[in-house]
């Protein structure tokens, strides 16, 4: 039933409606594109979640509650994503939706979540709806591109940029970021060429970009299209800075640089995570969890992202103690401050508006031809 929403004012009491929690178990669910156009990412996200859950359970659960994870496939379709979130809420009766993916698909569920009062934690990566039930981790596409432009202007003295984007939300976020940030540095956008999602037919767009001779090209496309951009630029003997972001560049993992082959040398990308290959202790712990929890290869940054999100989610639940309910989750969550996972920038939540975006920064990284190297620390875009 669409119960009246828990007006979680944040008094920390557990009088409201809640579900998915018993004394021994906490049920969470997610909806991911395990098939269809974004299956690689979806499977990575799934593996990260599974590893995190297996790890926490093998340590006795959270305050004695074992975590029970339900994964649904939405095939990267908005309609199925909406249906899945409802299924999680009404049929599976989960406590929260954790780490679902689909920039364009997830907003369809926000009004439902609001009516229901059920939290959605760390969806990848819709714009922040500023709703009490939705919690974002991972810096959005737009802010990442803003960081990129700051860096290009300051470090590379770039004066003109061009965009290669997909004709969808992703591309739109890129364009908005350039509109907002470029004027601050007197950087000019000289071209924005668009690609059909999933198409490998990129040559004509790239020829048009080259004709404008920009100092840098920012790619708001998918991994394959970005790889093709790298290859084609090399074939055309066109030396310009090519920049991706966490999604199009897949920094830290071979998603883009793998298929691009030798052409990927020098490729730049913004990153919102540690690299899965890093030897920071937290990342080593992640790799062990991946090995134990099974699933995709551990060098997958998608897996790392959701593994990290799960750590934050578990931390909030842990802080709830025995009384786990939606109202208290919101109250406690908004108190989370400067929480360090070692995997993503430190997390701070706060009250609405704006308080439910937990991380802000991104870093710039470069592929040397053999491995990814961070060029900067996590920084926030210049206002």
């Amino acid at each position: 039933d669409d119960k009246p929403a828990v007006q979680a004012g944040g008094d920390g009491s557990c009088s409201g409606v809640s579900q998915g929690v018993t004394d021994t178990a906490l049920k969470v669910g997610t909806s991911l594109p395990l098939s269809g156009g974004a299956a690689t990412a979806g499977k990575g996200f799934e593996a990260g979640l599974k590893a995190a859950v297996a790890e926490v359970n093998s340590n006795g659960g959270i305050n004695g509650r074992k975590v029970d994870l339900v994964v649904l496939d939405d095939g990267f379709e908005a309609a199925r994503s909406v249906a899945n979130i409802r299924r999680l809420g009404e049929e599976e009766k989960v406590f929260a939706v954790l780490g679902p993916a689909g920039t364009a698909n997830l907003p369809g569920s926000f009004s439902y979540l609001e009516r229901k009062g059920m939290p959605m934690f760390a969806p990848v990566l819709p714009p922040d709806p500023d709703k009490g039930e939705v919690w974002l981790l991972g810096t959005g596409h737009k802010d990442q591109v803003r960081v990129i432009i700051d860096w290009l202007a300051k470090e590379k003295k770039v004066k003109t940029v061009a965009l290669l984007t997909q004709d969808n939300d992703l591309g739109k976020a890129f364009a908005e970021a350039v509109d907002e940030q470029a004027p601050k540095h007197d950087v000019k956008l000289v071209a924005n060429e668009k690609l059909e999602p999933n198409s490998t037919d990129v040559d004509s767009a790239i020829l048009k970009l080259k004709a404008k001779n920009p100092d840098a090209v920012i790619s708001g496309t998918d991994n394959a299209q970005t790889a093709l951009l790298l290859k084609e630029a090399r074939d055309l003997k066109w030396s310009t800075l090519i920049v991706g972001n966490s999604s199009s560049g897949g920094p830290g993992s071979p998603s883009t640089v793998g298929p691009a082959g030798p052409a990927a040398e020098g490729f730049i990308s913004s990153a919102i995570l540690e690299f899965p290959t890093s030897d920071a202790p937290e990342v080593q712990k992640y790799r062990e969890a991946m090995k134990a929890g099974g699933g995709a290869e551990a060098d997958n940054s998608f897996a790392l992202q959701n593994y990290a999100s799960a750590q934050v989610f578990f931390e909030i639940v842990k802080r709830l103690g025995d009384d786990v309910c939606w109202a208290k989750f919101r109250a406690e969550g908004e108190k989370l401050s400067d929480f360090k996972t070692g995997l993503i920038p430190p997390v701070t939540f706060g009250a609405l508006p704006g308080g439910h975006s937990g991380t802000k920064g991104a870093r710039i990284a470069q592929y040397t031809g053999k491995e990814w190297k961070a060029l900067t620390e996590f920084v926030e875009p210049q206002d």
Binding site: L34, D73, G108, S109, S111, K172
Partner: protein
């Protein structure tokens, strides 16, 4: 109508009453998610009925239902800001019917596959239109849909009664069309297009009527779908949705009135049941589809006929073994050039 009901046997009447009772009290019987699924069945059925009219009865391969569905969803949501939902939905249906007639006007000269490709292109262009018209559709980012709530009912129940009444209405209209003169004229266009003119039927005009009717049904379904989905983006109304509708229409049996209902149940239930298979579910769905088409080529609605044939064949084959070998018949009617 009353008379028809009287003609039913008592048992049938009781069964119908029971079904109606269950449908009316459904919100108190199942959880909101299942209610949502059943509402979805109703929506798919209505969209499928549109295909039954244009493809099943009129024989025109029109692949634009996703576009009309989208028009219904967007326009109803948009107009609902200024007027009551039913009026908004009715206007959206009219608009879609007009669009159907507009594309139908040149398209009546097209046959078979040419028509299919032309209407598919039209559909995708309309979808691109959704992207461009962001004052109405919110463009790529999408738009929220204001929920309709009937006094005292929660959102899910309101949606269900909306879906139920729309489905009942659409089914009633389609049934009346099928059994009256208009239905006969449409079938004539399908089965004997050249002969239609000789009995004063203008094939082109009736194709247009079918285009408009089918578009209106699609839009009606879309109007309710907008309510269920609560958030609309242009990507929803692509080829994938079209394929979904084709499966709804054909798996059920595209010439049967109740075919779309069976098809819609198949689509929704298969999706639900296969969910546990994780990444393998697309494959499983495809296999289910392939098996249904392979063994029930005229759709689920062909099951009773298949059963009857099976029984007669068994009784016929019983006395002496078929010496000539029981191989599939090649034709139900001879080769007629």
């Amino acid at each position: 109508m009353l008379r028809d009901i009287k003609a039913l046997t008592v048992v049938k009447a009781l069964a119908v009453t029971a079904v109606v009772m269950v449908l009316l009290t459904l919100p108190s019987l199942v959880n909101p998610y299942r209610l949502f699924l059943v509402s979805l069945v109703a929506v798919y059925m209505v969209a499928g009925l549109g295909l039954t009219i244009i493809m099943g009865w009129t024989g025109q391969v029109v692949l634009a239902q996703a576009a009309f569905f989208g028009m219904g969803a967007y326009l109803t949501a948009y107009w609902h800001e200024w007027m009551p939902w039913p009026l908004a939905a009715a206007l959206a249906c009219l608009a879609a019917a007009a669009a159907g007639a507009v594309i139908g006007f040149p398209a009546v000269r097209l046959h078979g596959f040419y028509l299919a490709i032309a209407t598919l292109a039209f559909s995708e262009l309309v979808r691109r239109g959704f992207v461009e018209l962001d004052s109405i559709t919110g463009g790529i980012a999408g738009t929220d849909v204001e929920p309709v709530q009937f006094g005292g009912l929660d959102v899910a129940a309101s949606q269900w009664y909306l879906a139920l009444s729309v489905a009942a209405f659409a089914l009633l209209v389609a049934w009346r069309i099928r059994v009256t003169s208009l239905g006969r004229c449409l079938l004539a266009v399908r089965d004997a297009e050249v002969a239609t003119a000789s009995v004063s039927i203008s094939a082109a005009r009736y194709k247009l009527v079918a285009f408009a009717l089918s578009a209106a049904m699609g839009a009606l379904a879309g109007a309710v779908y907008g309510q269920l989905q609560a958030y609309l983006t242009p990507e929803i109304f692509g080829v994938g949705l079209l394929i979904q509708f084709l499966v709804v229409a054909f798996v059920g049996g595209v010439t049967f009135l109740l075919g779309p209902l069976l098809g819609a149940i198949f689509v929704v239930v298969a999706r639900e049941l296969l969910q546990d298979l994780g990444a393998g579910q697309r494959l499983a769905y495809a296999i289910a589809l392939i098996l249904v088409v392979r063994f029930l080529p005229s759709g689920l609605a062909g099951l009773p006929a298949l059963w009857r044939r099976f029984r007669t064949r068994r009784s016929a084959a019983a006395p002496s073994a078929p010496a000539a070998g029981e191989q599939p018949a090649l034709a139900s009617s001879g080769g007629d050039a």
